[in-house]
Symmetry: C2
Subunit: 307 residues, 2 copies
């Protein structure tokens, strides 16, 4: 099986964590090195990696710092927890601190978790592939870290041809830069649309299913995901199109509305590659995530990490 | 009354039609000159001007060519009709050809129409202002050619303070470049959002009303407008938010679905200022307009041109 670079975007090589710089894609496939937890946290804050990349980065950061034994792991956990509000890092860092306290060798625990995570993600892609039929066109938003090419590969093995519509996903254009890129690499038919074209392509009956990822799964099945997911879910309901979510493990949040939505700097919306798009003095509002309530989700495709 | 440059973006000066180049905004306020109908049609095709600007350009083009008497006006009409499919130029060009046949001096007919159009637009803005209440935040999409600052000005006279949320409107960013620009010039509070944030700001109860324009009004009240309008209308219905449309005169189309949707080149979505956003070989789909059915429109604010 050949994986997208986005499927496992972080590796630990010697004393350095190698982080796929997703902000440089699709122009170049570059890895950043982090040699301590501060550099790792900076990469998270600057959104160099996202979603599963962040989980991997957290794990490799603990692995690195536990080998060095310079910094108490509780301090590493604190720094990680402080990076981004919407994401459930506390759940992960508590888990690692728990392993540390259990007396088992921490390195084994982390490596065991990472191995189980990889297997679980492959099973998750396989389960998703079973929800698709030959000829389906699937709308997706943002990027689901290498899972879509894997889903398409499982479909191919089952002799089902599928294709994708990819929203460009403003302002970071993860759809155009990451999803279309990894699908093209894997030679999977895909078409980019702007975020404002969703209703139109649904109206034209071009979309048979929606599949998105999630940054945070609440206990009640609500999800937090990249801004724009919520309105796609509402539109899918209007057009009676199944809406599937590739979920992370549930977080500590009881409902989606217990998850704080990160509001990011307006200039991320008003500038593009350092050049201003907007008139001088323009104001903007940039909530980076939104909550899709469980009622709008046809099926949760869970990540079952068995260790 | 001070108007936005977008309220009347075309003027005839001597032998040249001066066309506000909307693609250069907000960086510079530049006018292109067209000295014959071919150059005018080129400006339409390249989307240098839109909406009411196109109506004015059609009128001034006939005025210019009728003075020169080199080209039969039927040929001018044909060239104009062929520029863009979604827009109802035939309605306009038929009207002018009709005036030509009536025996009345064509120049007087055109000038009379333009004067009546200006008055009608001012009345339209006034009528819209009566639908707004003190404190209203109004979501808008794309650009309504100078009408929003005018609406805000009428509200100000009635001691009502209003503000706007402006969708950036990919891929041409008319919201960011034109609407935020003209509102800022008139010192009207406005906030830019990405097209994928509409449901979220509605969910946060930040939006009290929606006001958009229309490129084409069908006989049954359906409208064609910039891509993205339809999904905003669907979301407004979901959130029970009134959806108002500043309409042009009705076209010949019986329903919205009789209006052909213009599909524009993918590179307009995949490139930005000549630089590629997407991976090599990326595909895109760019329907430039969509149809909002009349059931989703709370109120049509009509343009009543009385001559």
């Amino acid at each position: 099986m050949k994986y997208s670079p986005l499927f496992w975007p972080i590796e630990l090589k010697g004393n350095a964590i190698c982080i796929l710089d997703e902000t440089k894609l699709p122009q170049s496939l570059t890895y950043i090195k982090a040699i301590n937890y501060r550099q790792a946290c900076k990469a998270i804050k600057e959104m160099k990696t996202r979603a599963v990349g962040q989980v991997l980065l957290v794990m490799y950061t603990f692995l690195l710092e536990s080998r060095k034994r310079n910094t108490p792991l509780s301090k590493v956990a604190e720094a990680i927890n402080a990076t981004r509000p919407t994401l459930s890092f506390k759940f992960l860092t508590d888990m690692v601190l728990g392993w540390g306290k259990s007396g088992a060798p921490l390195e084994d625990s982390i490596k065991g978790f990472l191995g189980a995570l990889k297997e679980a993600r492959i099973r998750q892609a396989k389960e998703a592939s079973h929800l698709l039929e030959d000829g389906d066109a699937v709308l997706t938003h943002c990027n689901v870290s290498g899972l879509l090419p894997l889903i398409a590969e499982f479909c191919r093995r089952d002799k089902k041809r599928i294709s994708f519509f990819v929203t460009e996903t403003r302002p970071y254009l993860q759809g155009t830069r990451l999803t279309a890129w990894e699908l093209n690499r894997a030679k999977i038919n895909n078409t980019i649309i702007a975020d404002n074209m969703v209703a139109q392509v649904m109206f034209e009956r071009k979309i048979k299913k929606v599949i998105v990822g999630a940054d945070n799964l609440a206990q009640n099945g609500d999800i937090a995901n990249k801004i724009g997911t919520y309105q796609i879910a509402l539109l899918a309901r209007d057009f009676n199109i199944p809406f599937f979510v590739l979920c992370p493990p549930p977080s500590g949040a009881e409902t989606g509305y217990d998850i704080e939505i990160e509001v990011r700097p307006p200039k991320e919306l008003l500038e593009f590659r350092g050049r201003s798009l907007a008139p001088t003095g323009a104001k903007a509002y940039y909530p980076a995530f939104d909550i899709t309530p469980h009622e709008l989700i046809t099926r949760h495709i869970n990540l079952n990490i068995v260790r």
